[in-house]
């Protein structure tokens, strides 16, 4: 029985060591669970779109629900201009959601509880949004750092603050997802450890806590995927429609 609550986050190699040019590209349990969550999405959406019935069966219904959920989120937050980015945001949402949900299964590994994974996702979004902004507006995109109606004396200060606020986007995006997932899983493990150490007599209280926390964690897993996707929409909106 693993008593260390942080042990669940260790990455270890599966299979042989692969080294290419000084880079360690070995297949790890993190990569395994990324592959699993991607194939779960693919399998699920394949089943959902196999039979295109007018009256959908259960799997098709759920797949359509995800589609309309993301489509509505995009049109609500970023408007019709963001429609071409639907595939990107949909795959992002589904990937984070399935990584979080698969992490909730016992004996599994939560990919999103590692900051490097979420940081890469967030940095990718950040760079993509910046590039999209520059493509759409050219150098006028820099005007998001200069809010209108600010006195000239305060302008340098406000511009620096705006730049810091812009740069803090990937940090807040990645830290939020990573911290929520890691804290939740650590807490579950700690309460699980209490059950073992208190034994048959006193173990019932932490056990009931664990059950309640599992429910909460499933909610958090969904909400974090939702927040991740909706913030991407908001950033995209800022880049596509230049005004505050």
């Amino acid at each position: 029985m693993a008593s260390n609550p942080m042990q669940q986050f260790t990455v270890h190699k599966i299979g042989p060591e692969i080294k290419i040019g000084g880079l360690d590209l070995s297949f790890t349990n993190a990569s395994l669970f990324m592959v699993i969550s991607t194939s779960v999405i693919l399998f699920f959406l394949f089943l959902g779109s196999k039979e295109k019935k007018i009256i959908p069966n259960k799997i098709q219904l759920i797949a359509e629900m995800f589609y309309t959920f993301v489509a509505k989120m995009i049109s609500d937050t970023a408007g019709s201009k963001a429609k071409p980015f639907f595939p990107f945001i949909f795959s992002l949402f589904m990937f984070v959601l399935s990584c979080n949900m698969i992490g909730m299964l016992p004996y599994s590994f939560t990919v999103t509880s590692h900051i490097i994974v979420t940081l890469i996702l967030a940095l990718f979004i950040f760079i993509a949004v910046t590039v999209i902004g520059f493509i759409k507006h050219g150098f006028k995109y820099l005007s998001i750092f200069v809010p209108s109606g600010v006195p000239a004396i305060l302008l340098p200060l406000i511009t620096i603050i705006e730049i810091i606020s812009y740069l803090s986007r990937p940090v807040s995006l990645s830290v939020r997802l990573f911290a929520n997932m890691m804290a939740g899983h650590t807490m579950l493990k700690v309460f699980g450890g209490f059950v073992v150490s208190l034994g048959l007599l006193g173990g019932w209280l932490p056990l009931s806590f664990s059950v309640a926390l599992t429910g909460l964690e499933i909610l958090v897993a969904f909400l974090q995927a939702y927040v991740f996707a909706i913030l991407t929409c908001i950033y995209l909106n800022d880049a596509l429609n230049l005004h505050h």
Binding site: I164, S165, S168, V175, L223
Partner: protein
């Protein structure tokens, strides 16, 4: 084949019920909780980024600890700006 009127009205009632539930309950609560989760890190992240920028500038210009102090406060200001903006956006969406 004609659909009996009784069924039509029942369908209508059921549909309106579903619509109300969706907008009232789960959807709204979901987005509220999403917003609540959003605000906390927004504040902290800007402070962290500001401090890191200050640290980098300090090691470039060898001016310890001035830039780190200045940029810490600028980062805090940026964090508050982020939170105010996010809160404004939430109010507008309602």
């Amino acid at each position: 084949m004609t659909i009996p009127d009784d069924f039509k009205t029942r369908l209508k009632i059921a549909k309106s019920k579903i619509k109300n539930q969706l907008t009232d309950d789960s959807e709204k609560r979901g987005s509220f909780m999403g917003n609540a989760f959003k605000l906390g890190t927004e504040l902290v992240a800007a402070v962290a980024v500001g401090t890191i920028i200050g640290f980098i500038l300090d090691s470039w210009f060898d001016t310890k600890p001035w830039f780190i102090i200045i940029f810490f406060f600028l980062g805090a200001a940026a964090g508050m700006l982020n939170v105010i903006r996010a809160a404004n956006k939430m109010q507008k969406r309602e």
